[in-house]
Symmetry: C2
Subunit: 204 residues, 2 copies
């Protein structure tokens, strides 16, 4: 006998198990949960994903995902049009938006430079970022890439590109330090060291 | 701004987040992973689940999932046709099949009796199980339901039904005891107590 008593079931499980971080047992659980729903519900589940794939747009300015040519952030006139926050992917846009602490624009790179994965500067949206600086008279670029070797490499690459281009645009990066709620004694040495070097004035 | 920059994205995330045990962050991760694939891949993903829903069959004898009228287990002539293993769902069938220790038939109840969830004996496949005993001249019914209050209730209900029907069909239940690889000292008292009461002869 096969692993699954039904070929169609096996096929659906294979598809779910191909999603990142999903094992075959979890995949089977999800497929069986869907199978218990009505035909209409299953149809809606399937079409939500095909609809998205068919009709998705990426913002021509910041490459964020959206339903039209320009994303809701780029088209919001009340936002600061002279600051760009550079992020790796659209999930980072949502995370930063959720903080409610940022009111400028974004630029989604779609990845970070990673020679190990064969991702070079040409494979991500760095050129379009550089082009935006003079075009949109950007005054500050905030680098909000992951604090990994790849993120640091990409940060440095962008910094070099921008320095060569302009000396009116400030380049900053998000603060790295002890996370809110974390104990000092359990913070790793590199983070703790950076938090001392980059200390900020105490304003009471 | 909405939680998601695209309504279509939000819709797909909602659908994924409706699966059991899946949070909105994981759902978003899966949707974005699918979005990075080709149109054909996304189409195959969606159709695998609609195909399954449209064309799935349940075995008319044991209610296992299958591609035709009778499941591969029920139609396997080399299997013991006089023993039925009663399980809650088709995942349990697969788990027991994977052990390679059982060569009889199954009966999938599709649930266990649970007054809290409004599931009574009529809502699960108990009547069809009882009907199989004389019809197929069953000699042993093995109860392999979960070791929970609901599982125990269902076990007892089936036992009573079968006792009233016949005295030639043996009713047994799978052994409950210390799991292989587990330390005695960390085994809970109820399990350890049962493992002593239900000790088996040591055969060296």
């Amino acid at each position: 006998m096969n692993e699954y008593p039904s070929i169609l079931l096996g096929e659906a499980v294979n598809q779910f198990a191909s999603l990142p971080g999903m094992g075959r047992k979890t995949a089977l659980r999800h497929v069986l949960a869907l199978l218990r729903r009505s035909d209409g519900d299953v149809e809606r589940f399937a079409s939500s994903i095909t609809n998205l794939k068919k009709n998705v747009h990426y913002c021509r300015r910041c490459h964020n995902i959206c339903d039209s040519d320009l994303c809701p952030i780029c088209s919001a006139i009340h936002r600061d049009q002279h600051t760009i926050c550079v992020v790796e992917n659209i999930r980072d846009v949502m995370s930063i938006e959720n903080t409610g602490q940022y009111n400028g624009l974004y630029h989604v790179l779609g990845g970070v430079i990673s020679p190990m994965d064969n991702i070079g500067p040409k494979d991500i949206e760095i050129e379009s970022l550089v082009a935006r600086i003079p075009d949109e008279q950007i005054q500050e670029v905030i680098l909000a890439l992951p604090t990994t070797m790849e993120g640091d490499t990409t940060n440095f690459f962008i910094y070099r590109k921008l320095s060569a281009l302009t000396n009116t645009c400030k380049v900053s990066q998000i603060a790295r330090g002890v996370a809110v709620g974390n104990d000092i004694e359990y913070t790793d040495e590199i983070t703790l060291g950076k938090s001392i070097l980059n200390r900020t004035e105490y304003k009471g």
